[in-house]
């Protein structure tokens, strides 16, 4: 039979009458309108923020000249006192390690209280969640500033600062991991008549353990970056030297310290990633998924490693049938080495930093006393200086986020394996990103302040550069996850690469783009509150003055303002995200 014989009934148009003419604009529901208003307000805010932070083409050129001059004074690089640098570098690592351990020890019970499915009572989960949110809102350097005054100069202040601020992330992710477990095993154990605690030990812990370890290692990585700068405010570690050399105008030695920091950050990131891979299984994406989860972008998987391979290895391994001890499979060996190894490093870290665990414990009492003094009794601390500082902080964050993201978006396409125009572009871009991220934001800020002087301008520059490194990585990772099918279809229509990137890739990655951009806004608001501590503008300057004069009420007042700003931006971006996804 041929085609023309097919019955062809009269067809009625499916086009709705209102669309039969006119220019076919997409409908605009009220949520879209609100978003457009927010976008317009944001655009105005950006223009204002750029003016407020003194950013301009001429400023950029002058800044470039200043930076060249700083580089001239920094070169050739000088490694005087290398043994001292190395000793302090190890001290830095041990601070980060103990700090991470403190965070994990506090986070585990906190997470079980906070998680909806394991909390003993809603009266406990509420406060637990509140505490976690508060720890997340206050930047680590602010903690360090306060603790240096409260407990004295040295590593203990640094450790506590790292430990407490890490709780904000670690406990939150632990609670998320607990809430994602498979409830079956726990119910089965409860059904045998076991108590809740036992059911958690047997039915929950084994499920979340890999995630817990992965998150802790990831945080160790972050903590190490942070701890390199803590010495700048007297909280121990290699930052002490940086501060010493920069204030003494010994720029060559300062650059030597910076170089050591870069190398160490890269080394720690590399080792932490290798251990994560070794323990959590050879899934090449586990790291990527983890970093996504940390960005709060996607609900995570359960991080169980390669279960089938484990089972096979266990069935092959021989074991003593008398004692019935579990066989030493490769995974069990790895776990044991990791567990005992971590413990050994921890003991050595305490010994090496001459920190007694008892002192660590009692310091929590001192922190508590200071915390009570932080509560402002009235509003006398609220001066125009404080208000101006907060406004400037906000301006820095907005300007830096916008500049950073404007650079990151195109860059991310070049750094995504599946979109990059050539292999070498991808490798080149990714190596630049790794180098960029190896320099902690605040160290960039310190260098910029040395180059162009105090003020918000170096802050914006430093934060923009840091944003590029971090955002580009997250964006490129999400571009690598788009599915190939729709891209093939768009390509098959005869598009150019650029057209395909806009139509085939971008819409697929859009939810991740939105989440990343909003996440960057969040962390930049936080970061910009501490830039002032190194002289790069914003409220941090008032904060460091207030701690120097032991004006605890002012410190507390500023903390409340910081918390309010961070929290309200977080809520707003959460709402925007929900509308866009």
């Amino acid at each position: 039979m041929t085609l023309t014989e097919k019955p062809q009934g009269p067809r009625t148009s499916t086009i709705p009458p209102e669309m039969r003419s006119g220019s076919l604009r997409p409908p605009l529901p009220w949520r879209r309108k609100v978003l457009l208003v927010i976008a317009a307000v944001y655009a105005v805010a950006v223009v204002w923020a750029i003016g407020r932070t003194g950013l301009s083409i001429t400023a950029l050129f002058e800044g470039y000249g200043d930076f060249r001059r700083l580089l001239d004074r920094m070169l050739p690089i000088e490694f005087r006192n290398l043994s001292q640098i190395i000793r302090l570098a190890f001290e830095t690592f041990f601070m980060a390690f103990i700090g991470t351990a403190v965070a994990v020890v506090i986070s585990v019970p906190l997470a079980f209280f906070a998680a909806r499915n394991t909390t003993p009572s809603v009266f406990l989960s509420g406060p637990a969640r509140g505490f976690i949110v508060a720890m997340r809102a206050i930047p680590d350097l602010i903690f360090a500033l306060i603790f240096v005054r409260a407990i004295g100069i040295g590593v203990l202040a640094g450790i506590l600062a790292i430990g407490l601020s890490a709780i904000g992330m670690v406990a939150k992710l632990y609670a998320d991991a607990i809430e994602q477990i498979d409830e079956g095993p726990r119910e089965a154990i409860l059904a045998t008549g076991a108590s809740q605690v036992r059911a958690i030990l047997t039915g929950v812990i084994p499920q979340v353990l890999p995630s817990f370890i992965g998150i802790a290692l990831f945080r160790l990585d972050i903590n190490f970056r942070t701890s390199t700068i803590l010495g700048y405010v007297g909280a121990g570690g290699i930052g002490t030297l940086l501060q010493l050399y920069l204030s003494g105008l010994q720029y060559r030695k300062a650059l030597g310290v910076v170089a050591v920091i870069v190398v160490l950050v890269l080394a720690v990131e590399f080792i932490s990633a290798a251990i994560r891979k070794g323990i959590l299984g050879a899934d090449p994406h586990s790291h990527k998924r983890l970093s996504h989860r940390i960005a709060g972008l996607f609900p995570g998987g359960k991080g169980r490693g390669n279960v089938a391979a484990q089972a096979e290895a266990a069935s092959r391994a021989s074991f003593n049938r008398e004692t019935l001890r579990p066989p030493w499979t490769r995974d069990r060996r790895r776990m044991a080495i990791f567990g005992w190894g971590s413990l050994a490093v921890l003991v050595y870290a305490f010994w090496s930093t001459r920190l007694s665990p008892v002192r660590l414990f009692t310091s929590f009492g001192e922190i508590f006393v200071v915390a009570t003094r932080l509560v402002p009794r009235d509003l006398s601390w609220l001066s125009s200086v404080v208000v101006r500082g907060m406004v400037e902080t906000f301006a820095i964050a907005i300007a830096a986020t916008t500049i950073g993201l404007l650079i990151s978006f195109p860059l991310a396409f070049l750094c995504a394996r599946n979109v990059a125009p050539a292999r070498w572009v991808y490798y080149f871009g990714r190596s630049l990103l790794v180098m960029n991220r190896a320099l902690p934001d605040l160290i960039i800020a310190v260098l910029f302040v040395s180059a162009v002087g105090l003020g918000p301008f170096p802050g914006v520059m430093a934060l923009s550069i840091g944003t590029v490194g971090f955002a580009t990585k997250l964006l490129a990772d999400s571009i690598e996850e788009v599915s190939q099918g729709p891209r093939d279809a768009v390509t098959a229509a005869g598009t150019t690469r650029l057209q395909e990137a806009f139509t085939g890739v971008s819409p697929q990655a859009m939810p991740a783009f939105v989440s990343t951009a909003l996440y960057i806004v969040d962390i930049n608001i936080r970061s910009s509150t501490i830039l002032g501590i190194v002289g790069a503008g914003g409220i941090g300057f008032s904060l460091i003055q207030a701690t120097r004069t032991l004006n605890w009420e002012l410190v507390g007042g500023i903390l409340i303002l910081v918390f309010a700003m961070v929290y309200s931006i977080e809520r707003l971006s959460g709402w925007v995200r929900k509308q866009l996804l």
Binding site: M1, L3, T4, K6, Q8, S13, T14, I15, P16, M19, S23, L24, R25, P26, P27, S483, Q484, G485, P486, D488, A489, V490, T491, A492, A493, G494, T495, T496, L498, Q499, E500, A501, F502, T503, G504, S506, P507, Q508, M510, P511
Partner: protein, 271 residues
């Protein structure tokens, strides 16, 4: 359009994957005549998708030559390749529409080859094209869904959007790779009717891979059977019996399983 001549000419085409461990196509010679409706049949893994993907250079042959619309595909690159792809529409089993975009924008994306520069959002396309795209959506019966997000549609509707997108391209040749394999039989019939009717109305040459032998025999002018990358049947559909066709499908390996075309390596390892 001239109704004589060949739109596709394959000579000794061989395609290897994974450094020669998988031979997907093996010395394939094939001529497809203009204006004809050719149906490709064959078991999963017999090389149907691979063959079709050679015709717009989503794959390049390991050896042999591929000529499409009179041009040697291997030599094409840049603007020339894009021009060829514009003339060759492709319809995928997995629909491959961009889920987060509206139906209208998906159809509009078919016109990208006719436009310069990247586009984002319905409003970035010229007004006349928006109208054209809406009319095509109407032709596939989805005129009322223009601004609905395409991932909220059913499978059959998504494939209809994909058909409209392909027609938007104004192609001369349409390749359809198991366009209804993910759909239930009733919807499959409707979608195939729609596809073939539009292609006939537009006087397009069509190569379509299909598993439904009844549909194939009902619509096709010519049947080409593949097995293990080789052409084992190439006859006019008229006079072919269902048994002749089913012979192509006889399984040599009873454990053969359907593979996801984007994870062929994994599927191969699993089986």
């Amino acid at each position: 359009m001239q109704l004589s001549g060949d739109v596709v000419r394959l000579r000794g085409v061989r395609k290897e994957f994974d450094q020669g461990r998988v031979v997907a196509l093996d010395s394939v010679d094939l001529d497809i005549h203009a204006g004809e409706l050719t149906v490709l049949i064959g078991l999963s893994g017999s090389g149907k998708s691979t063959l079709l993907r050679h015709l717009n250079k989503l794959h390049v042959p390991t050896t042999g030559t591929v000529e499409v619309l009179g041009q040697p595909v291997a030599d094409l690159s840049g603007a020339n390749l894009r021009a060829l792809r514009r003339d060759v529409g492709f319809i995928f089993q997995q629909f491959n529409i961009v889920g987060r975009l509206s139906c209208l924008e998906n159809v509009l994306s078919g016109a990208l080859g006719r436009l310069r520069g990247p586009r984002y959002g319905v409003l970035s396309y010229p007004k006349s094209m928006r109208r054209e795209a809406l009319e095509l959506l109407d032709r596939v019966g989805l005129g009322d869904r223009a601004f609905q997000r395409s991932d909220t549609l059913s499978g059959g509707q998504q494939q209809r959007v994909a058909i409209a997108r392909t027609v938007m391209q104004k192609p001369k040749l349409v390749l359809a790779d198991e366009p209804v394999a993910s759909l239930d039989p009733e919807i499959s019939g409707q979608v195939m009717d729609l596809l073939f009717r539009i292609c006939t109305e537009e006087n397009l040459s069509v190569i379509c891979s299909l598993h439904q032998v009844d549909l194939a025999l009902g619509w096709a002018k010519r049947l080409v059977g593949l097995r293990d990358g080789q052409v084992v049947l190439d006859k006019p559909a008229e006079g072919l019996s269902t048994e002749d066709v089913m012979a192509v499908y006889k399984r040599l390996d009873p454990t053969g399983t359907k593979q996801n075309e984007y994870e062929p390596a994994m599927a191969a390892r699993g089986s």
